[in-house]
Amino acid sequence: MARAPLFLASGRGDTNGLRPAKCDIPGSRLYSAAALTLSFAGRAVRERPNRPVSGEGEDKVAMKDPVDVLIIGAGASGAAVAWSLAETKMHVLCLEQGGWMNPAEYPSTGRDWEAKFYGEWSSSPNVRGRPEDYPINDDNSPIKVVNYNAVGGSTVMYTAHWPRLHPSDFKVKTLDGVADDWPIDYDALTPFFEENDRMMGTSGLSGDPLSPLTHPPMPQQPMGLSGAIIGKAMNKLGWHWWPSDTTVATTDYEGRARCINLGHCTPACAQGAKSSTDITYWPHAIRAGVELRTRCRVREITTDENGMASGVVYYDKDGVEQFQPAHVVIIACNGVGTPRLLLNSASGRFPNGLANSSGLVGKNLMFHPYAQIYGYVKEATDSNRAPPTCLWSKEWYDTDLSRGFVRGYGVQFVRGAGPVFEAVVSEQKGILPWGEDHHRVFRKLNGHRLGFSAICEDLPEEHNRVTLDPVLKDSHGIPAPKIDYTISENSRKMMEHALARGREFLETAGASDICVNSPIPWGGWHLLGTARMGTDPARSVVNEWGRTHDVKNLFIVDGSIFVTSGGVNPTSTIQALALYIADQMKQRLANLFD
């Protein structure tokens, strides 16, 4: 190819050989000589920085200086890839549309902690409506998108449940004749799962016979009142259960305080016990020299006359349009934000959106439909006095065609709910009456809830997709994403199966007043598949190491590259993939664009 290799001076083709030449810049850190001196086709040599720009990280080069690597998004995958690439000493810049979180303002610090879930701390960006949120038209989907926009991304607002995809999840076509195999296997990710578990700080109990072997550095969460009820009922039925791996610190760990059971952890942890990348990866990455610019929303990725990514156009914290040139661009915006950005980056050369010659950008959206069933036992449960999830089951994870569907689901058990949530939901379900009997019934329900949530594997279907809404725009006038999604017949059968098993479980536990949420309508936590990975450019968006087929200096590291979804929460696998792709980049520095 005509273009000079980007990382020539530092790249020797393997990670161990990575020793970038030093170049001292006043007021700055070390830069790779290659990044500073190489000439790129059709573009000026990067200028020596002449003024620092104050930001939330360190003093940095002026905005018009190209950076070696530009990462879009500071969430689960963006943080991991930034941290991993920091050791190259390249100039790595991350642009994040949200800001830094302030734990002193987290819901659990106030008496109104539950009410906040319905407003500024809603999991739905459409309800939250903060300036850093972008609207999503999900009217044509029974499952609504939930996410969080900040440094840390949706790891700020998640349940911290930490299963991995199983080895069999990477070979579904071979094993079950559906969807596609991944171009990589579980073994390729194993070292990155382990590295990620150390960085995020996981707790759990090694040795689950039905899950991949893990080595959590901290012991599992306490069983609590709910865990004991769940375990006994599952034992009566002869069904598998096991303490969940979670990213809740059960001991002090790497500067994080141990969990003190503040209650429902999903909307951020004031104690800092729940792992989110703003308190795990980012402090390490910034200390290692990565620059993080917050409140910067990227509008589009630009390309040059060679069809290579040349940088991004973004709006800074003051709403001023900026152009940031870059030699490599990495997208880490999740399965909705990433296709939105690629589609918004359409140009004369890429009329259907960037990296979209396959036509698959935005297609094959997978959510994981949740089939939830819950009831009320006579004994007290943990209610709001514990992290919401503590145990899982893989009893129905693998394909058994006698069940009437292919593939399977994982189960996460739910410990309970707080009083406001209990009252609101039970009133809506019609089991908490108005009037005189309200008090008696509420006392029967509150503090006695037990839940069974099945995470059903969603298979890829092209009609489930993210497109650009023709009308809806965010606060910067950037077209918003539109979701079209239906639950497949296979998924419906799986959900029915799960609800039947859940009912058996609840009845065995002695529960009454059984209620169902199927699907959980505000359950679109897992945003997967919309820029899938593969070796065939006609059938995939990125190759087997995350580089887009069409643009050889453009990478994607978030959940959009999933080929299939498995039946578990995906964040652990998303981050392992991001670390794997970063490692691949480091190993291929000498010929990254070939």
Partner: protein, 149 residues
């Protein structure tokens, strides 16, 4: 739909009436009703982003009642309340949720429920570690992870 950002006196009156219908006071449990002055003040002070929908719900209620809700005979009031809940949609659900979320953080109510009057942070809660020998049957059954080619 009402566009004002505060409730009118009539709306406040109806809010109070419907709140009492949702949660009346109870001598047995020693709790106030949701029409209690302190709880009503909390609702009005914290309506915030919910004001528009709550006002819309109260407009709908007023149309159903045709007069201040409190002035209706009890049977008619109950009938209006049922219609309100069944036909009020998201606005009615928001009104009910606002009443419940303020009621179930009131000190007197929490005390009656045996709950502590505090934010979760910084004290947290203590959880029993439990008897992990419950896992023995799972270990005994074992099972194997599905192999991938």
């Amino acid at each position: 739909m009402s566009e004002q950002m505060t409730l009118t006196p009539r709306q406040r009156q109806d809010l109070r009436t419907i709140a009492a219908m949702i949660i009346p006071s109870s001598e047995e449990y020693r709790v106030p009703g949701a029409d209690d002055e302190i709880i009503q003040a909390d609702i009005l002070a914290t309506l915030g982003r919910d004001t528009r929908l709550v006002a819309a719900a109260l407009d709908h209620l007023a149309r159903l009642a045709g007069m201040p809700l409190a002035d209706l005979e009890p049977a008619a009031r109950d009938s209006v309340a049922q219609q309100f809940r069944s036909s009020g949609g998201g606005a009615a659900a928001t009104l009910v949720r606002v009443v419940l979320q303020c009621y179930y953080r009131d000190d007197r109510v929490l005390r009656s429920l045996g709950l502590e009057l505090r934010a979760p942070f910084p004290k947290g809660h203590v959880l029993p570690d439990g008897d992990w020998s419950l896992l023995d049957p799972v270990r005994a059954r074992a099972g194997t992870l599905r192999r991938a080619p």
